[in-house]
């Protein structure tokens, strides 16, 4: 029985290593985990990075910062992580998975996205109490910020649903399933052809900070550092600013 198991384990290991090779072009692969609100900007930075490093294939995996942080702490093979808040970055840092200190590279604020034409007549945070609105789950940075926004405005309204990430919130608004959704300024801007944005006064608004850092145990440590440098470079900052991110 024990011998069988050894054979099984060995053959599984062999199988996984060969599939690893068979995917191989001879390009180096840089894996970046990034908050889903960075989708548009990091996709364009990916193209730029691959132009500057023709022998490198950048693979960006977007998701909720909290999920990505959990995945890296559990040993997921990422070379760089970029989160939409400090909390999930410190989860990775506390798990001793960062190769160097995280860099704060952008800020983002909140806005209320409404379907084109604003059918629910949303005028601001206080009017959310009377509408069917959705927001991110409080475990995700956009949800934590959204909850803070409601507290700042003194609104005790429950959303219709806590969506897993900001992209799902935006979709529910685009499909007009919800009359409003709490999203980042950058999300509303990137979907400006499908949703309108109701601004939130800066007194109530919440500023989220974005952090980027290389992950320990990466085979691509120099490339990981190069990615962090690109994100924080004037070129990177300009891509981020164009999308509506603030500079830290």
């Amino acid at each position: 029985m024990r011998r069988w198991l050894a054979v099984v384990v060995a053959s599984l290991a062999l199988a996984s290593s060969t599939t690893g090779c068979s995917q191989g072009t001879d390009k180096a692969k840089l894996t970046v985990f990034a908050a889903s609100s960075l989708t548009a900007t990091f996709t364009s930075l990916e193209a730029q990075f691959e132009r500057d490093h023709p022998s490198v294939d950048v693979v960006v995996s977007f998701g909720s910062s909290t999920t990505l942080a959990e995945q890296i702490s559990a040993g997921a093979p990422a070379d760089v992580i970029a989160t939409a808040d400090g909390t999930s970055m410190s989860v990775v840092q506390d798990a001793h998975q960062l190769a160097s200190a995280p860099v704060r590279f952008a800020t983002n604020t909140l806005v209320i996205a409404v379907p084109a034409g604003n059918p629910g007549d949303v005028t601001g945070v206080r009017s959310l109490a009377a509408t069917d609105f959705v927001m991110c789950a409080v475990s995700a940075p956009c949800g934590a910020a959204g909850a803070q926004l409601l507290r700042n405005a003194g609104v005790t309204a429950d959303p219709k649903s806590f969506e897993p990430d900001v992209a799902a919130v935006l979709t529910k608004v685009e499909l007009e399933e919800a009359d409003a959704g709490i999203v980042y300024v950058t999300d509303a801007r990137s979907a400006a052809d499908k949703v309108d944005a109701v601004p939130v006064p800066s007194a109530d608004n919440v500023v989220n900070s974005y952090f980027v850092a290389p992950v320990t145990g990466s085979d691509q440590a120099p490339l990981a550092t190069a990615w962090v440098n690109l994100v924080t470079s004037p070129a990177g900052t300009s891509v981020l600013a164009k999308a509506g991110f603030g500079t830290p």
Binding site: L5, V8, E70, V134, A137, A140, S161
Partner: protein, 268 residues
Amino acid sequence: MRPDSAHVLGRAPAALVIPAVAAVALLVVPVAAVFVRAPWSTLPEQLSKSGASTALRLSLETTLITTAVCLLVGVPMSWCLARVDFPGRRVVRALVALPLVLPPVVGGVALLLAFGRNGVFGRALDSAFGITLPFTTAGVVVAQTFVALPFLVIGVEGAFRSSDSRYDDAAASLGATRWYMFRRVTVPLALPGIVSGAVLCWARALGEFGATITFAGNFPGTTQTMPIEIYNEFQTDPDSAIALSLVLIVVSVLILVLLRERWLSGVS
């Protein structure tokens, strides 16, 4: 199998045993890992959190309603597919089995486009009756029914088709109507298949995540079923997610064992 059959047939070949062991390991090790890593010392606190009991209650309620709905419409549909010769029967059979292979998230998107507030039928539903399904418990039942119904139909239709239709002929020759026949002959003969189909259907509904979160959303007490609560908790408090997973594993095993002893062993 006779006790000496191993003697006669020789050892099981390694070419079959090794993949079989790998398969068993793949299926059993993850479930065992939940038990190994479960936060046993804090389990009572983890489970007495209000979120856990709310989600468990919602899951049990919605899946039981879903199973009832599936039986109510699925058994008649299976009967029609098995016993009524109508044009396009094979097409209908293929179409209703589609959710079996469809990714549940796709099912959720499709449901939203059909029954969403702004959907093809949902808009009419809203303007005529003021009914909107997304973000409601009824929406959870609809999502679960969409993914679970084919599991019932596959089992029940198979049972109807394999039970001998000559019993129906005999009943008809004795003057039974088709409705009487259905109730007193066809269904009793197919009962084991109906029960196992219902169990599979219930289990699928209990595990439903993708279609539910996409179509019905995620709000405690309304649409946040156990799998969604586990997904949420895993982001912030993995121990709590493990404790909830444990509950779902135990509930699943318990009901399968109970049903097996009460029904399946006796009748199959």
